[in-house]
């Protein structure tokens, strides 16, 4: 997984490099922020790896991991999506590996070819990415982990693949169906397959391979535990919101200086550990957080604003700075708005269709990439018609700038509206502040209990 040159890895063609760049560009454009936390043990993995990840939204998950992982893995995907010839061609170009699912119909077609492809990719020193839940989720919890990943790993190990590890990855979306949302990728401690196989072989003396059901189930338990630690696994969305908020309050309170901005990765990791607490402790944290949140709502503050409030001139200065910034970016935002309004409306239209959240997480990025890509191509063509060869090049440089200006302008307006609201709520806020601070402290104490 490491980025350093590893002689054993397959040589990457120019096409591969291009695909990596495209994936990185798409991820940067589609998501506002992509944070990665790699456990120290995962950062030094340099050999073949079976990457296992939770699965919220079809294409979005694979895209995010392509953009984040040091080496692009071969993705195991259900064969049904090859049905469309165009998508099939894209998947083949990406080196995706089709898996047959019994639930897709067609009886007991064999997956020998899939296992063989995975083993070959791993023996060549590459990585394989599999979503072992087998389905996309609309809930913030893990579906039962199927044994595919464990069988691939044990099979490859039996076929002579040395140094193999299983890397658990948790993808946390702030709002998975929204564009420009934030994503946090949590890469957990790798599972050493060699060590697992050696330990078992020492116990029983029999060879350990993918036909050994006890070994497969045992390894699958390891995978499940590792995934639950890395990936979101909450009872329901309410619990997810409350525990995440509790983690945010705690991380902010531990900052060296009170700041509105916090490390979202730390927040999501802490929230993940809270989700694993016993039920009564989780209830206590959720209740304290709900109380604090109600208090905040009553005075019109967010936690970041409450703690980040320093001095009295702050509000006016903040308003002024945002106003100046907004005026500076306004002309570029206007151009950006004119260029991007049509693709934006197309994506909105797609978004208004009632897809399930997980399907939306596939459809929306694709629609956005298509609509914005097409529009930008049109602008570049117009620029070429207008002034010749420098036109498209200048357009290529400036189009992202205009889009960024629109985003910056909208952000400024949002912040200013919040600041105005806060000023109105301020008088009542000051009298209530002590109670609210007490409620806040209760949240932190529940988390640290």
């Amino acid at each position: 997984m490491s980025d350093v040159d590893d002689g054993g890895a397959p040589r990457r063609s120019r096409g591969d490099v291009l695909i990596d760049r495209l994936a990185a560009f798409l991820v940067r454009s589609l998501y506002r922020e992509v944070d990665v936390h790699m456990s120290p043990a995962a950062a030094v993995v340099n050999g073949p790896a079976v990457v296992v990840s939770n699965h919220f939204g079809g294409v979005a998950d694979a895209l995010v991991l392509f953009g984040v992982l040091p080496r692009r893995p071969g993705v195991v995907a259900r064969d049904k999506i090859w049905a469309n010839r165009f998508i099939g061609a894209v998947l083949d170009a990406l080196g995706a590996i089709p898996v047959h699912k019994r639930s897709d119909g067609g009886g007991g077609a064999s997956n020998d070819a899939m296992f063989a492809s995975c083993h070959q990719a791993l023996l060549d020193g590459g990585d394989v990415l599999i979503f072992p839940e087998g389905v996309t989720r609309n809930e913030p919890s893990m579906a039962p982990v199927k044994t595919g990943a464990a069988r691939i790993a044990l099979g490859a190990s039996a076929a002579g693949c040395a140094g193999l590890v299983i890397v658990p990855v948790g993808i946390h979306y702030e709002n998975k169906a929204a564009l420009r949302s934030r994503v946090f990728v949590n890469v957990g401690d790798p599972i050493d397959v060699d060590a697992f196989v050696n330990e078992r072989a020492g116990e029983s003396g029999a060879p350990v391979n993918s036909d050994d059901h006890v070994a497969v189930n045992d390894l699958n338990d390891h995978i499940t535990t590792a995934l639950r630690r890395a990936a979101p696994d909450y009872d329901d969305w309410t619990e997810e919101h409350l525990l995440t908020h509790a983690a945010e309050v705690t991380v902010r309170s531990l900052g060296d200086e009170p700041r509105a901005r916090i490390d979202r990765g730390l927040r999501d990791r802490l929230a993940n550990t809270l989700a694993d607490r016993p039920a009564d402790e989780r209830t206590a944290i959720c209740e304290a957080t709900a109380r604090y949140r109600d208090d905040l709502d009553a005075i019109g503050y967010t936690d970041g604003e409450l703690v980040g409030r320093i001095g009295t001139g702050r509000l006016a200065t903040g308003l002024f700075l945002h106003l100046v910034l907004g005026i500076i970016v306004l002309p570029f935002a206007l151009v950006g708005a004119i260029i991007n309004v049509i693709p934006f409306l197309i994506v909105r239209l797609v978004g208004s269709r009632s897809f399930s959240p997980s399907l939306m997480a596939t459809v929306k990025p694709l629609a956005a990439a298509g609509a914005f890509g097409l529009m930008w191509a049109v602008v570049m063509w117009l620029a070429w018609r207008a002034i010749g060869w420098p036109g498209p090049l200048i357009a290529l440089v400036l189009l992202p700038v205009y889009l960024a200006a629109v985003i910056a302008f909208v952000d400024r307006v949002t912040v200013m509206r919040r600041l105005f609201r806060r000023r109105r709520a301020r008088r009542s806020g000051d009298t209530l502040a002590d109670d609210v601070i007490e409620a806040r402290q209760a949240v932190i104490e529940a988390v640290a209990a």
Partner: protein, 115 residues
């Protein structure tokens, strides 16, 4: 300056100005990039100075994405990092609840003020 037509002004503000900003930004980025040193850096800067349009566009296309998976811990872990790692150790069963509470209490501020 007074001879500029409205169109000229629009071109100046909306196209030339941001392009110059990106151009300067690109030069600064190339100079400061740790992985681009020696002859290659000189060639890049030279190309950026001589052929701004082509070189800036080329940089947009070939620029390597920001380094993935930054795992170089910058300085000692912060209090928040230590707290989260503590919670993760408890989750993994490496420390028990009492050990967690004892260490967590040392990190968490006793009384919070609004600053």
């Amino acid at each position: 300056m007074n001879d500029l037509s409205t169109t000229d002004w629009i071109v100046l503000v909306v196209i030339t100005l941001p392009f110059v900003v990106v151009w300067v930004g690109t030069i600064v980025e190339v100079v400061r990039r740790p992985d681009l040193r020696g002859l290659r850096a000189v060639v890049w800067v030279g190309a950026l100075l001589l052929f701004p349009v082509v070189a800036v566009a080329a940089h947009v296309i070939v620029r390597r994405p920001r380094p993935k998976a930054v795992e170089v811990p910058a300085g000692p872990p912060t209090r928040a990092e230590r707290f989260v790692e503590l919670a993760e150790r408890r989750q993994a069963g490496q420390i028990d609840d009492d050990a967690f509470r004892a260490e967590a209490a040392a990190l968490v501020p006793a009384a919070q003020t609004s600053g």
